[in-house]
């Protein structure tokens, strides 16, 4: 059974979908293939906890410039990501199912500034970006469920007011 066999609703034709983390796989994927993403997610979550990236204290250290740890994590992640993307492009490395890897150039919008600042303010209060929120809840910090629900509400509010915001 695969989702792609179900015909998408009409709205998709009316409004081209611009998801920021898109699924560009052309071939239909079965339910079972989602296990791959589950496994990558699990490993990712383990790294988040073991490197203490989910810690509110580590985020405070970062914004107070009192530890190199978070800068080292993000910096080395970016370097490894850059090299990987460069190699994929340079040698035209294909996906497991033989497709060309799709990259999406991002367009500058004022939202990147306003939204970026708002997220930054929230990041320093909650001590979490969206990824660590999930790992914090998994670690047993049940109060963070409220943070996650509120983040969903914030995303919803953005969708509701999107046309009225400068962008």
């Amino acid at each position: 059974m695969s989702f792609q066999q179900v015909s998408p609703p009409l709205e998709q034709d009316e409004q081209p979908f611009v998801c920021e983390a898109p699924n560009d796989m052309a071939q239909p994927e079965s339910w079972v293939s989602n296990i791959k993403y589950l496994i990558v997610g699990v490993l990712f979550g383990i790294v988040f906890v073991k490197a203490e990236i989910i810690s509110w204290f580590r985020i405070q250290e970062m914004f107070r410039l009192q530890s190199f740890h978070m800068y080292g994590v993000i910096g080395s992640a970016v370097v490894v990501g850059m090299i990987s993307v460069f190699l994929i492009k340079k040698f035209n490395i294909k996906t497991l199912s033989g497709e060309t890897v799709q990259f999406h150039p991002k367009k500058f919008q004022r939202g990147q500034i306003y939204g970026g600042l708002i997220f930054g303010l929230g990041w320093a209060i909650t001590g979490a970006c969206p990824g660590p929120l999930f790992a914090q809840i998994g670690s047993g910090y049940m109060a963070v469920i409220v943070t996650l629900l509120s983040a969903v509400a914030g995303t919803w509010a953005y969708g509701y007011f999107r046309d009225k915001l400068p962008n």
Binding site: V42, I46, V49, S84, Y114, G120, G131, A135, A153, T155
Partner: protein
């Protein structure tokens, strides 16, 4: 083997964790042509649960279900690391951060999260409202307004040499500095 288990139970240094996180980018691209980005999961949750006829949430979210499966994995990963790979030693925080936070009124430095703030008791107080409800709302609203978070912009976007992502990342940092140095001292005076 015993030694290896001892080793991975220690906190992982940045030069291990960072490259592993960076490798998520090619892994997702190569196993299924997926661009790395976590905050999109929040949008898919809205699209799946409360689309409310808002055009921003009217899309075929089932095609993006991989992203929700991925964050479910992050949740399980957190659970596994905390319950089966826990650090046997006390949490180490830099002395200067500890002094700064102590001046603000934080007393408990024993866990990854400050128990003074992140407890169920704090949930239904002004503290809880600011640190959970308001903070979470800004994370959700801001990331979508910016078109991504630390993963989509700072890691995926910068890996693909995108200038807008660099601008967004700088704004994330500026927002964080402003909150930490200018606003938090006032917020902590509220309680």
């Amino acid at each position: 083997m015993q030694q290896f288990i001892e080793l991975i139970r220690q906190p992982w240094p940045w030069y291990v964790a960072g490259p592993l996180i960076g490798l998520t980018v090619p892994t997702l691209l190569l196993i299924g042509n997926k661009s790395f980005g976590i905050s999109s999961s929040l949008r898919h949750i809205c699209a799946a649960c409360f689309p409310a006829n808002i055009s921003f949430f009217k899309y075929y979210w089932k095609k993006e279900i991989w992203n929700l499966v991925f964050v479910l994995g992050v949740f399980f990963g957190g659970m596994i690391a905390t319950n089966f790979m826990e650090n046997p030693n006390a949490f180490q925080l830099s002395a200067s951060t500890m002094a700064d936070l102590r001046a603000l009124g934080i007393q408990d430095f024993s866990g990854l999260m400050p128990a003074d703030l992140f407890s169920m008791e704090a949930l239904f107080s002004l503290k809880g409202f600011i640190f959970f409800v308001l903070g979470g709302f800004m994370v959700g609203f801001g990331t979508r307004y910016a078109g991504g978070c630390t993963s989509g912009h700072a890691i995926m976007g910068l890996s693909n040499l995108q200038v807008p992502s660099l601008i967004a990342t700088c704004c994330f940092m500026v927002g964080g500095f402003v909150m930490t140095h200018l606003l938090l001292p006032f917020i902590f005076k509220l309680f």
